[in-house]
Symmetry: C2
Subunit: 581 residues, 2 copies
């Protein structure tokens, strides 16, 4: 393999054009090999191979700095910067992350896993360079999907007036994660159709020099344009048109399916992990679809990642005009949901825990302060073994400390559906629901949740009370079972509400219970358990909080985290014994 | 007064052109009267009078819906919708807020006090209207300054593809709060200079129909264009050029000074409240300016509100290239600060507590996860009597629960400067400093804060320990004094660090202390005190937390809030006695 000879990116400068083509083929092989084995971003990486080869061919990294937006597109970069084994050698694959990380390589400038950050980060690097009298090139590589995020747009407006050397490569593959949405794409299309010549050009409007490459998968063209732009000292946008999934037929043909994939069979493209069994994507869709048939005011919103919630093109179409994908624009999605509720509709915005983070101020100002009855479904909230950028541990502190908000934690399928049903029926509160992880029966659902903050006693006992929130309800039941082995009949409680305390129940508990333990599937800092501890602060009741420590864990498997955070029934029961002594 | 005859906006439809001119003059008188008495937004309201008269003349509110961005510009609207007494009648002034609020009037659609939200909110109203088969007009009125915020840009991109009836009026007065910054303004200028004719037009690029009015302060012109656009069914941008401060000479001449004003003398324009005495704006500027002379890597960043930190045009210029105002674009400011720190500079971003809320994900992903040593100064953090949209109570929960972040709470001037000095010297952490409110001596500063989370014992006592955070340190001292009257020599502690606990000290305290009380000038939910309660959860130590309740208080004077939250030394001492009994 040629890749084996590339010790540093400088080595590719010596290669001939045919050798560069071979290199591109090897990189594609590496992408597909890794993704088929452990899953990962397929289409974005396949489409950007020639661009990244050209970047390292023309520029001198790490002296020159490249910032990869979301780092969805960083696999080729990793292979060219000494990390090719992470794509070919099964023993090495897990050592290399799917995102850029300066701790992994000096060729990576930032840990990046959220979209739309590259332009602002590159602007900062460029400004620092200028103030320090340095002269290296700073480049942001951003996909068209990331362009619609507020931070990217703020960044573009500011990069345009930097009055200095910054190159922003807009990789336009006509796709966000799903199809693109928004006026930005109207303009990108016009620019493609006019070979970059249209006068009405949003990048020029902002003040950028602008260049267009019609086929960014032609190696020679990419090298040529970057050589031309190498010494340009003005803010410049290079708009390149590439083919998402280039070189892998299934991915070229079905771009959305192949944006990211679970492990798959290279020949057939079929997923190789078992996906059978009930899941919350189907449960949610089926519920909403049934309701949509009866209620024309229901509206479903997503922000660029419908596939993550099982909303295939077919399912999206089944909602007609009542489905809205706003593209990667979560801030807009929250404000729009609030206003749609104000306007008499019943909006349901589906979002990952990690991406909800982009909307704190919209949750507070646009939604909660106005008390509009929008519904938000938070998926993937909980402790997981993902990259540090994709943890699901921060949504409870984020949402639950905002006044007016009602954040519900269903324990299983039936309760989830009951809460969703209530959220859509009531008109008094913004309701956020933390979608459970496992499809279990959980606590006993009820029809009406309008009497806020009433915790549910599931098993009545004494001495020890276990407050087991949402997806940790099953863990709570296991803890109660384990305590039983120690002769303690613990009280088991399903708190249901994350945004308030059942002060009456908690006060009553103080009578027959010496220890209250709280279990939450998220970060302890700023979360649910601390509030229970504060409530009992002036009483003799002892409180033990269980949840995630305050850290950005990075690809640490859940069982290891559970041990670390003392989340096994054995550990918890041992702690209780120690306190009761 | 004509205004007295306007019971509802429909009444102005009968007025003649000369009467409308008289109405405009009366509205300007009302704006100046109110602002001179109690302070408020001057320039934005004076400039938009003719537009708002035209809106109510042409459209039928509240059937048609107008969304006012930031509601900086809503005074004329309030006077035309039954609330003119709030501008002329001293007894009524305090009853009417400076922002829109549906609880105040059915003509207001949202509580709005943060910028850049109007386009997204209007898009939601318009989409709800369409799904419900309604036909009213939806209009967003947004100032040029608000246009640079991420949420506004996300909104524009989505409004452009609504495929329906929405009108966005861009009020271009060539000013944000201070001068405008960013590529967006490059394009607005081009459009002004070409009387709206330039082909390179960012609004058209996004897909909007576009119209331009060269003088938006000419009543007839504004009525004429709105009548033309009344029945247009496509997403439309109406770009109007107006004069900020129109009709009040001092405000026309010095637009930045008159964006917002404290109470002033109408004749001279002089502020009528006493501003003498030391303040943190001057203290901060003087420190940073001295440092700037010695360190060319120091950079000062603001996001559209430099005046709020005393950074006059002259002071800004004194930093040369090392001062950067990014316009209203806080997300960008955080990412840029992180990257500038990565690039070897020492950025200091100055921001209000309330506006920092727009940056949770950037604080987490761009800054904290990358551990870059940027410094953020949070002004106005604390319980205050302001509008619900401008509270300073949420920054502690927001910042302090993010891993890696070091959030410091200086108690007074000397400690503030010592912490700022250390923040700029160290290179290991992102450091956020909560600028104190009163200029007091506070705790004892030290040179080095790199041993994190070491609380400082200021007075050593027994039985009761008072953990008094940041600007509540003086309150803590008063509580200790009050307890002394009851025969208790309390221990007084300056925690200094908000982002971590001094577990060693807290463990030692448990020996000689039965009660620990925490005082924080911010919301309790998710804050500092709850963590202390959780720490002592399994011990016999009693913990009492003091801070703000979880609510959006709205213009409630501080003394009343202090009573409500039991923040007086008397109340706290009484609580302690009750627990000790």
């Amino acid at each position: 393999m040629l890749l084996e000879t590339i010790k540093a990116p400088a080595d590719i400068k010596k290669l001939s054009q045919p050798e560069l083509k071979q290199l591109a083929a090897e990189i594609r092989e590496g992408i597909l090999n890794r993704d088929s084995l452990i899953g990962g971003h397929v289409g974005p990486n396949l489409g950007i191979v020639e661009t990244i080869i050209a970047l390292h061919y023309v520029f001198d990294t790490p002296h020159d700095k490249i910032v990869y937006d979301v780092s969805h597109q960083c696999y080729p970069h990793k292979m060219l910067t000494g990390r090719w084994k992470g794509f070919f050698d099964t023993a090495e694959i897990q050592k290399i992350s799917g995102y850029t990380n300066p701790e992994e390589s000096e060729y990576d400038n930032f840990i990046i896993g959220h979209t739309s950050t590259s332009v602002s980060l590159a602007t900062g690097l460029a400004k620092a360079r200028d103030l320090r009298g340095e002269t290296h090139k700073v480049i942001a590589l951003i996909g068209d999907g990331s362009l619609s995020g507020g931070e990217a747009l703020e960044g573009l407006s500011n990069a345009a007036v930097l009055n200095s050397n910054i190159l922003i490569i807009v990789n336009d593959n006509e796709m966000s994660i799903a199809e693109n949405h928004g006026g930005i794409y109207t303009n990108l299309r016009l620019l493609r159709e006019t070979n970059g010549k249209a006068e009405c050009n949003m990048f020029k409007a902002l003040g950028f020099d602008y260049h267009y490459v019609a086929d960014g998968n032609v190696q020679e063209d990419m090298i040529k344009i970057l050589q031309e732009l190498k010494d340009v000292k003005k803010p410049t946008v290079l708009h390149i048109h590439t083919l998402k999934g280039k070189g892998y037929k299934p991915a070229e043909e079905n771009k959305e399916r192949w944006h990211w994939s679970l492990p798959f069979d290279l020949k057939t493209g079929n997923i190789t992990v078992d996906l059978s069994g009930e899941n919350y994507n189907d449960i949610t869709y089926n519920f909403l679809y049934e309701r949509h048939l009866k209620d024309k005011n229901l509206a479903i919103l997503t922000a660029g990642t419908p596939g993550a919630f099982g909303l295939t093109a077919e399912r999206r179409a089944s909602f007609g005009e009542n489905y809205i994908d706003v593209g990667i624009a979560e801030e807009h999605a929250i404000a729009m949901s609030s206003a749609m509720a104000k306007g008499g509709c019943r909006p349901v915005f589906m979002v990952f825990s990690s991406f909800l983070q982009r909307t704190y101020d919209q949750l507070s100002q646009d939604l909660a302060m106005n008390n509009n009855p929008a519904v938000i479904l938070v998926f993937n909230g909980g402790i997981n073994g993902m990259d540090a950028t994709h943890l699901g541990t921060f949504d409870i502190p984020l949402v639950s400390n905002i006044p007016n908000m009602v954040y519900l934690a269903p324990t299983g399928k039936e309760e989830y559906l009951a809460m969703l049903n209530w959220g859509l029926k009531q008109t008094k509160h913004p309701v956020v629901i933390r979608v459970p992880l496992a499809v279990t029966r959980g606590g006993q659902p009820q029809e009406d949740y309008s009497e806020l903050n009433r915790f549910q006693v599931v098993r009545k006992g004494s001495k020890v009370a276990v407050l087991a929130l949402g997806s940790f309800f099953e863990l709570g039941a296991s803890v109660a079972d384990k305590l039983k082995e120690q002769g303690i009949e613990a009280t088991l409680i399903n708190p249901r509400y994350i945004t308030g305390l059942d002060e009456k129940l908690l006060t009553e508990l103080a009578a027959g219970h010496q220890v209250v333990i709280t279990l939450e599937n998220g970060a302890l800092a700023g979360g649910f358990g601390e509030k229970i501890a504060a409530f009992y602060g002036a009483t003799p009741v002892k409180v033990l909080n269980y949840g995630a420590a305050k850290e950005f864990s990075d690809r640490v498997p859940y069982p290891e985290l559970a041990q670390r955070y003392r989340l096994t029934p054995e550990q918890i029961a041992a702690d209780v014994s120690a306190v009761l002594k």
